[in-house]
Subunit: 430 residues, 2 copies
């Protein structure tokens, strides 16, 4: 038999302990912030019927990016490429039983068949936070406060990132009323807005001219007025006085009162998914080395109703783990890594039963202890402790058992302590 | 468009908050015990090349139970049906870099296409614990101590379960030397042993006769001698004096010294996977309502070498979440469930900014707070708090803002406290 490859499937990652610790650090912040805002955790299946995504996730995801297949019973399924359709399904299934507004979160993995590159993997982990059945602007403000709080928990400074805000209703107003586009033209224009930061100004104007056709001149003037506005006050008057702008202004007022800095209004912000119906936002890294969207979300009021129940409004957001890991790396915010193990016990001599007893007593006191193997050379054991990044090593032999006093070595400080059991637990717990 | 189904894919589960809390309770115990024994967490891809399982997982799993498919790039992959081949691959990939013995664990989900029934789901969650490159009996004893400790952490009493122990080398000795079977006969006999508890004694003997062919009589006597032994001392002398039995006895001695009760030797214990090479064990529920294997593991020394590197020995085990949940249910060991949210804040009047401030200050003090929606009827809000199982409700209106004194209601005790900010945080933290 030929040998098997030891590499992971393309675009996926093996998380060795040092990688998993970073992921756990990010997960811990997500859990903490989500719970502190009163959100409760849920879990969901890895696969779903493909039709769940066909409804609203957008053509590109369904036709080009899903891991879809037919199961042994003939059902057409997909590994979930995102969580929003699943949680909408779950809420629909318990439409009558749940308490509203329902605040729900999950930390889960997803798969999309994409070309792997920095910050984008075929399998990725995401936090998903959603509030169901809250139509008020406070739902939007809460979701943005949570996004900001996540950045603060990671010790990001307020100028490390900006929070861009827009509203799909405003976009619809701009396309239909302000620019007077029909729905096909509007769709093309929305796609062009979405690409604005990736193309040159000239290219943008060329493509806009193409969309506008023979009415180009006046519409190009209008679009220039729109895009030159640095804030809401500078917008053309008919846009500035639309009801969507007033909604955005109310949102800004609440968030500014809650001491959220880094807010900017960005009329070109679109967000990819087809299902957004109101406010959309994006947290954007300001560092030139990582100048990109970190995560985002928005209001999507139409999904729950697809399951044949009375519709429920929803606002949510979903940060990805790898994207945040890159952010923390670039901004030098990753915490120092150490093993979850506190003590490595090195056995000197044939004292198996006694070493087992001491080790289990330490574990009973809440200390994480790895018991070394009898017979392994001591210098090899010490090398392993360094490799694993365990902070303490404890020696046990016949002498130690007789006296009840052990040598505990603090590896970073290179200090040896002579301690009894109580002394060891006291030192480690500090 | 016809409406979508709100049901999860067959054999998978939606974990609503109350279900997820039970799962998290089990996960927390797993994390605690694994870390306390010095094991470090890793993570791994959800899909792997199918050939990874073809090597050793066993024919039934690969041919009938994998969720396998061809990806958009023509690779034949499977959603992982188990973790052992993956962690063996990961160890092989870092054969030179890792510190040995390597102690590794993960908590992950798996899929198998099986008929769903009690305790068996198509998608299931498992703890996987493995120690690599420890050839000594202490690796076996540690793995069994951890299994026992998991049961103890769940508050199981020592007569709620038994730990059955056997050894594949002993089985090989029994088949080849004691019963003098050729390899085809031995395989049939091993399969028969594996089914022993599911069939009648008569059926067992009939099928054994068939396997033995014309030498039945003396072999049936031998097999009866073997199966009648209630412990190792009662085994036929040639079996009792084999080196494998001495190894099992050494293991029992270590475990009895470590105060592990519930140990039994069971020569019919096989474990399904083809890759086991030495000790195998199983934790078995003694309750008549749930009389079944909860989880198990063993030594598998051959897997890492399949990846073209020098082989490394391994011992591991893998408890499943649903199986343990059933155990906890049957033995009435599930803890009382409450929300992760500590306080629900009910807004009385138009005090959005002040309510946001108070709530965020409470969050800053480490308290999990859900902020109610302005405008929702108070009796509806209270009903929601009861549904969500949140222990406290706090009222904030203009009067409270003026005085800085709030009403905090303890729902279970139906007591109202009048407290300032410091008083609230103090009461909740107790």
């Amino acid at each position: 038999m030929s040998k098997l490859s030891s590499q992971p499937y393309k675009g996926t990652r093996d998380y060795y302990p040092e990688d998993k610790r970073i992921q756990n650090y990010i997960f811990d912040v997500w859990h903490k912030v989500s719970r502190s805002f009163g959100y409760e955790e849920y879990g969901a299946p890895t696969i779903e019927p493909l039709e769940l995504y066909a409804a609203k996730s957008g053509q590109e995801i369904v036709n080009e990016q899903t891991y879809s297949f037919t199961d042994r019973g003939g059902r057409i399924v997909a590994i979930r490429p995102e969580m929003t359709p699943t949680i909408s399904r779950m809420v629909a299934a318990r439409r009558q039983e749940l308490a509203y507004p329902a605040r729900l979160y999950s930390i889960a993995n997803f798969m999309r068949y994409e070309r792997p590159q920095r910050g984008r993997e075929r399998e990725f982990w995401q936090l998903n936070v959603d509030i169901f059945d809250d139509d008020g602007i406070n739902a939007e403000s809460e979701i943005i406060m949570m996004s900001d709080q996540i950045m603060k928990e990671f010790n990001a400074k307020s100028d490390d990132y900006v929070i861009k805000i827009n509203n799909r209703k405003l976009i619809n107003f701009v396309m239909a009323q302000y620019l007077e586009l029909d729905s096909a033209e509007a769709l093309a224009m929305i796609r062009l807005f979405d690409r604005k930061n990736k193309i040159s100004n000239e290219e943008f104007m060329d493509q806009a001219t193409e969309i506008f056709g023979d009415k180009s001149e006046s519409k190009l003037t209008k679009i220039n007025l729109l895009l030159q506005a640095k804030n809401m006050a500078e917008l053309p008057v008919e846009v500035r006085e639309s009801s969507s702008i007033r909604e955005i202004q109310r949102l800004f007022t609440i968030l500014e009162h809650a001491n959220i800095k880094s807010l900017v209004f960005d009329i070109t912000l679109m967000r990819g998914f087809d299902y957004y119906t109101g406010m959309v936002f994006e947290v954007f890294d300001t560092n030139p080395e990582n100048n990109r969207a970190l995560f985002g979300g928005g209001r999507y009021d139409g999904l729950v109703g697809l399951f044949g129940v009375e519709p429920i409004s929803a606002v949510g957001f979903a940060p990805g783990c790898t994207m945040l890991e890159n952010f923390l790396e670039v901004h030098k915010l990753l915490p120092k890594s150490r093993s979850t193990t506190d003590i490595y016990v090195a056995i000197l001599g044939d004292v198996t039963h006694e070493a087992n007893k001491l080790t289990n007593d330490l574990r009973g006191a809440g200390i994480n202890v790895e018991l070394g193997s009898f017979g392994l050379k001591l210098d090899k054991q010490i090398k392993n402790v360094l490799k694993k990044n365990i902070p303490y090593i404890l020696f046990i032999g016949e002498e130690e058992i007789k006296t009840g006093v052990y040598t505990l070595k603090d590896i970073a400080k290179s200090i040896e302590h002579k301690l009894d059991f109580a002394g060891i637990t006291k030192l480690i717990k500090e």
